[in-house]
């Protein structure tokens, strides 16, 4: 851990909110990015990230410095995020309430439909441009199971090591590798359905 980060955490433990504020500013972009892509909702992302930082501030006495603050905080963040998503899935199944990610993104679920024959995606030899590819991947990401999505985002977007992801999600390294491979296989499979041979 960086020396300045250690000093910031020690100060924050003794109630120095400004010291904790430095950590908040440092990790806010990554936290927002991760949760936004996990939930698909900007509003949820802000709420959940706020909840995570507040929980981290209250629980700072439990941070022993065995891992980096980044890993420790992302553990708090991912638990809150996964709990939120599971609650949404539960509500959707039991009470037929649409989950927030469905509400925020009108395009979600389109991956399940047959491609429009008039679009270039239906022609197998047509290559998608980067923008379309990114949009299609974004949709494919949303329908991944939450755990696979979390592993993929932490690995591919956050650049965490397999060992770090295992610590963040509280699973074994073997499970992380398994989730990662399945996630990438699923993404490629969905991209194939849109005529992109990957």
């Amino acid at each position: 851990m960086e020396i300045d980060e250690k000093a910031l955490i020690e100060a924050a433990k003794y109630g120095d909110a400004e010291a904790f504020g430095v950590l908040v500013k440092r990790y806010m972009p990554k936290a927002l990015s991760f949760v936004r892509q996990m939930t698909g909702s900007a509003e949820d992302a802000e709420d959940l990230v706020q909840e995570a930082f507040l929980k981290a501030y209250r629980g700072l006495s439990g941070f022993k410095g065995e891992s980096s603050f980044y890993t420790w905080f992302f553990r708090v963040l991912s638990n809150i995020c996964l709990d939120h998503l599971r609650k949404g899935v539960f509500l959707k199944k039991v009470f037929f309430i649409p989950s927030v990610s469905d509400e925020d993104d009108e395009e979600s679920g389109q991956l399940e439909q047959a491609p429009d024959p008039n679009t270039s995606w239906s022609r197998p030899d047509e290559r998608l441009n980067q923008k379309e590819l990114r949009a299609a991947l974004s949709r494919a990401l949303k329908i991944l199971p939450e755990r696979q999505r979390a592993v993929f985002l932490l690995k591919n977007n956050e650049g965490m090591k397999i060992t770090e992801i295992a610590a963040v999600l509280g699973i074994s390294e073997g499970a992380v590798k398994s989730h990662l491979v399945r996630a990438i296989t699923s993404l490629r499979k969905h991209m194939k359905g849109y005529g992109r041979h990957v």
Binding site: G21, V24, L32, A42, N156, N157, I162, V181, I184
Partner: protein, 153 residues
């Protein structure tokens, strides 16, 4: 899953090889295999292409600033709560002290009222006792007057 042409043992390893998550010996094994297997090399290329195109959400400065502000405001509320909790025992101690002082002033007044009354009674009783001697003497004096009257008779 991976394409049929991809060597069975290397399919999943290619993902980990792309991310540099293989140990030195495994990494060497895959690197050697890729040199002689066009199918696996092509597979690795496609995996790398799709992963490079994966969307990454970057929040705007405004979003970040707003989120930071929200967090710091919540933390301020927590700090006020913490201070209140820290001072709570002091508040309780202060309240207990004030109550004790109030009781110590008011209760003795109530208790002392009874003995004062007894003292008044005692004093009046004593006065009666004092006066009783006079009364007794008065009787004697009266009798002496009666004797005088008798003598006169």
């Amino acid at each position: 899953m991976f394409k049929d042409s991809v060597c069975k043992d290397y399919g999943e390893l290619l993902v980990l090889y792309h991310y540099g998550e293989l140990g030195p010996s495994e990494s060497e094994l895959v690197a050697t295999h890729l040199k002689s297997c066009p199918a696996c090399a092509k597979e690795l290329g496609e995996i790398s292409g799709i992963l490079a195109a994966a969307p990454v959400y970057t929040p705007t400065q405004l979003e970040t600033a707003r989120a930071v502000k929200g967090v710091m405001e919540s933390i301020s509320a927590v700090k006020v709560g913490r201070w209140a909790n820290r001072l709570l025992p002091a508040y309780i101690a202060a309240a207990a002290t004030v109550a004790a002082i109030a009781l110590s002033v008011s209760v003795p007044k109530f208790i002392d009222r009874a003995p004062q009354e007894n003292q008044v009674l005692a004093q009046s009783d004593w006065e009666v006792v004092e006066n009783y001697d006079v009364i007794k003497d008065y009787d004697v004096i009266e009798q002496m007057d009666n004797i005088d009257n008798l003598e006169q008779l």
